[in-house]
């Protein structure tokens, strides 16, 4: 049976100063979901819930068909997890870690592991304590990828990496995606990386999912419309406007449902319509929802 790789329904997790509330999302086999949110939005909490490292206060989580966190041991057989915060055991070398992981996962691909060691310029004899931040991320990624997992859960894996290292890591993800049955849940606040590899994007802010959609859908719907109004003329009531900035006779409108009909409503006052990149969409989306919630 081909289960959804991740399915969360009405998940709630409360801490003293933070609550992840009513989180529902799903990840299909072969899909790459970018999970984007500002710092403290609940990205890591969500990913740890998916890994069974923490349990929800309410709601249901199924990963690779296993109920989490109860069946986490079975689910994690097929999950590769990498987090920017995660560290290897400080008193052991990378080579020891590779042997250790290999002894647990029969699917370990030694040839691929050796290729990754070379590609990432790592040294198996190096002690984990002496690895730089970038080397640490690459080492944990190597340990996760060489197991050939069906699902990769990546918690801000490119944090702290220089542009070259980021390129190497992202290229490796692209390689993983050649296999249609493997999926990735990728959290980040770096929208450039997310935009590059994701099929689907979920925005999260202050513990709530703000919006979830296909990447192309986001990029198609969101527009910035620059309007110049002559004196004494005002705009009609416009639907789906989520942001408005006025500077004298110049008005910049942000819409999350652009259509030619909307443009026609504004008429000849439109000076320019710009596509927005994912970062602009993310910021506008978050700010709109914060205002709507009265935050």
């Amino acid at each position: 049976m081909d289960h959804k790789h991740i399915e969360m329904r009405s998940v709630r997790k409360s801490y003293r100063f933070f609550t992840l509330d009513d989180l529902s999302m799903s990840l299909e086999p072969g899909e790459v979901m970018g999970f984007v949110g500002p710092n403290g939005a609940g990205k890591s909490t969500t990913l740890r819930l998916a890994m069974g490292m923490i349990a929800p206060d309410a709601g249901e989580i199924h990963v690779l068909g296993h109920a989490m966190p109860d069946a986490q041991a079975a689910a994690k057989r097929d999950i590769g997890y990498v987090s920017a915060e995660m560290r290897l055991l400080p008193n052991a070398t990378l080579g020891w870690h590779m042997e250790f992981v290999k002894s647990i996962y029969p699917e370990w691909d030694g040839g691929y592991a050796a290729a990754l060691v070379k590609r990432f310029n790592l040294r198996p004899e190096q002690n984990a304590r002496s690895l730089s931040v970038g080397e640490h991320v690459k080492a944990t990624l190597l340990l996760a990828l060489a197991r050939r997992p069906r699902l990769l859960i990546l918690d801000e894996p490119t944090n702290g990496l220089d542009p070259v290292a980021r390129h190497e890591v992202i290229s490796e993800f692209m390689d993983v995606l050649r296999d249609d049955n493997r999926s990735i849940l990728y959290s980040s606040h770096n929208t450039v990386d997310v935009e590059r590899i994701s099929d689907r994007i979920t925005f999260i802010d202050r513990g709530r999912v703000v919006e979830s959609s296909n990447k192309e859908d986001f990029l198609d719907r969101w527009r910035r419309i620059h309007v110049q109004l002559p004196a004494g003329v005002s705009l009609p009531d416009l639907p789906n406007i989520v942001g408005r900035v006025e500077d004298g006779q110049f008005i910049t409108l942000t819409t999350n449902q652009y259509s030619e009909g909307l443009r026609a409503l504004i008429g000849s006052h439109v000076r320019d319509v710009q596509r927005m990149n994912l970062e602009e969409i993310f910021v506008a989306n978050v700010m709109f929802h914060r205002e709507a919630r009265g935050a």
Binding site: M53, P69, M86
Partner: protein, 222 residues
Amino acid sequence: MNIVIRKLIAKELYVYRWLIAGGAFAGVASILIASLGKGGFNIGALTWLTTIIATGVVLALYGIMNERKEQSLQFVLSLPLSISEYVRAKMLGLFAGFLIIWSISCAAALVLVFFKASVPDGLAPYVTLLSVFMLANFAVVLCGALHTQSEAMTSAVIVVTNMGVSIFMFTVGPLPGLQKHMWSPAPVWNDTFWTVLGCELAVLVIAFTLPFIFAARRRDFL
């Protein structure tokens, strides 16, 4: 026992191999010092006690608290195991590590008692009780460190258990059933000995079992 638990137990022994080897060596070296006359005996006995207590504390602190603090716990928890399997592996791995240090050091102390003419064999029951006390003490530290997620609470457990060693020496040592025979040429394994040993074993069993019942059922481990 599944392969992941076995590998994690082996991991504890590997990661702390130098501490374990150093602790065992220091335990034996302390006994050698203790065999060098009266002054040596006092210094050696103190070093022996300190070695066993300190290595136990370091094992618990590094094995549990530092793993959490340095974020390598995330790496371990990303492996295919449940929280209860993690707790089981951690308890067994660290306990096995400490057991190596403890058994070598305590065996060396008993060898000194039985084979060194100037040390009366009558000390054997007291040395045995002190040794088992330190094993129980380690189990309590381990239990505390696995139950609490706070470094401050673990430190408090360590302070209390360290004080426990002094309290043991001040209260159990003077027990008439033990003190009377301490300097005898032959060991006396009387009711007092068995009662104290029974209490120590009870504490050991409880402290060793509690994490399997409570910490293993925790649903949040980060």
